[in-house]
Subunit: 336 residues, 2 copies
Amino acid sequence: MKRLQLEDLSKQLGYSKTLISMVLNGKGNQYGISKKTQTAVLDAVAQLDYTPNKFAKALRTGKSYFVGLIVADISNPFYSTIAKNIEHVLFERGYNLMVCSTEENEEKEKRLVEMMLNQQGVDGVIVSTTFKDSSFYDQPRFAKTPLVFIDRLLPLFNTNYVVIDNYGGSLEIVSHLVKDGSKKIACLSISPSYLSTIEDRVNGYKDALIKNKLKQDNDLIKMIHFESINADVENAMRELLARHPDLDAVYALNNHIATALLKTLRKKEFENYNGKLKIACFDDIELFNIIDKKVVSVSQPIEEIGKNASLLMLDIIDGKQVNKSNVVLSTKVIER
Amino acid sequence: MKRLQLEDLSKQLGYSKTLISMVLNGKGNQYGISKKTQTAVLDAVAQLDYTPNKFAKALRTGKSYFVGLIVADISNPFYSTIAKNIEHVLFERGYNLMVCSTEENEEKEKRLVEMMLNQQGVDGVIVSTTFKDSSFYDQPRFAKTPLVFIDRLLPLFNTNYVVIDNYGGSLEIVSHLVKDGSKKIACLSISPSYLSTIEDRVNGYKDALIKNKLKQDNDLIKMIHFESINADVENAMRELLARHPDLDAVYALNNHIATALLKTLRKKEFENYNGKLKIACFDDIELFNIIDKKVVSVSQPIEEIGKNASLLMLDIIDGKQVNKSNVVLSTKVIER
DNA sequence: AGTTATATCTAAATCCTTTTAAATTTCTCT
DNA sequence: AGAGAAATTTAAAAGGATTTAGATATAACT
């Protein structure tokens, strides 16, 4: 049973391929096809399991109705939640989502961007980049395809983006800790620390200390490598507590670190401290609702990132948004 | 700066489009292009930022190098982990992944399947279906496109699938509870319960009771609706404990239910029981490593599902696998 | 009726590859 | 040198839609 094509419809209906194509694409009026003919065609085709060949259509029109999404790790609930919301918006508008994980690997990201932005397989690309600077993205041959950055952005690169207010959220939660009585707050940061999100959070932390007149001490900021979180957190805490017995709060810059921190503090080695330390985390996860330990957290509007980014992308594709659009979503502190 | 195409290369290199296309596709030898010419072409093109138009290629060859993935909820870590592994395998082989979430909505699943299986936009579809029976999938017009089911399968539908041994895992963990001394074990199931995964887990639970000579009692099996998990679990526990004061273990059929259960048991209302109840869960999540409560769980080889399904899909696409392939992966009990 | 304007419809070009079938060049051998 | 075989290369067709430019039918007007 061969696939039907316009040629077949033309024979069966007695109208030209041209006319049928016009009607099927809703351009009947525009091209002056009579109402009678239009309904005749639509009725006849409705019976007939015909769908236009996507490739032929894309070849001719240059539109694929695909949007690409590039993130560091699609299995990370943060990104998969964004993906879900993007997919939802796109589906409503007849678009499909192509998802790729870079696994924090710059080489893979390059290949993916190359493929998506240069090979015109997609109508637009939404990306959370692992890159440090914009030189790669800032090439003329990439400028043809609409681009929206999410979550992370590149310094000095003028493009569309939807991010959250990492600086503000961080400032707020650390200030909250201070008001709650904390005097010495450690910060467990993550490398690669050049990511805009991390940088902003660290700056928020520092500025909160300044504003609240606490002593700044770089020894209180520890780097946790994203590939060895558990071990690094444990070492960091051991060091911190040895050097700063008066430590009274720890601020984890993301949920993975907070999770590792909670695990660490349950060990016998730390049992004397566990009760005394307040814990804060940038990112709010279900776990915090289940454990006894009270964790104060910054909740990010994750769904909103996806929704905003995809709507923005569609506007750009449709030519409704010509200037670069920059969206910064605000966060909320969750006390417990 | 216009996109380069074969025509341009032809003019610049002084060879025909045909020859260049052949060489670029690695078919130089096959078509008897001289070694000298081949290297000349390859060298010249390497300088020139040319990539073939995907749509023209797909139109001519009928291959899109896209594989579709349809799951109930891409933001669910279970599925997003599968997605990540699928994407990884596909990327290595030059394929891309198109991801769609049905949101447990049959209508959306129909539209997606229609689009993917009937509109030949993708070379194959991997799906975790929300459907109850196979009548929709079992249509001749869908048979053209390779199909691999994952996680959930449809009764009596002869197709490729990669699933885990839900029955066996369930049997094992419940037997484990019994050996550990439990005499009365409740089961928190989830609706829609016709999903093959759920059905198998319930059957494993029942058979474990029989094998271990415990009394079966349908009153111990509670249905939790997937859209009101927290409330349903709380009600279920209230009922169970009222009617069965000697209850000594609760078996949650998935991680969401276990999470809700843990939250519920922390409430004052249940504090007298919390210590006495053993908890088991089908699915192993990081949370269980962080909380004090010892949860025994069934760990599923989630990554393996994705890897197996995508490798199988590629084999089918490449014609290496003609018979239907059925893979059942086994689980592991994690004690704590 | 004959011409012009208007409403409908269609043939052919186009998008850019890959592949088939055929043409050309080179080589081998008498 | 010339015929036939082998080695290279290319012109043209095909894939299936959309769109341009043009054709035909109908209406309107003198």
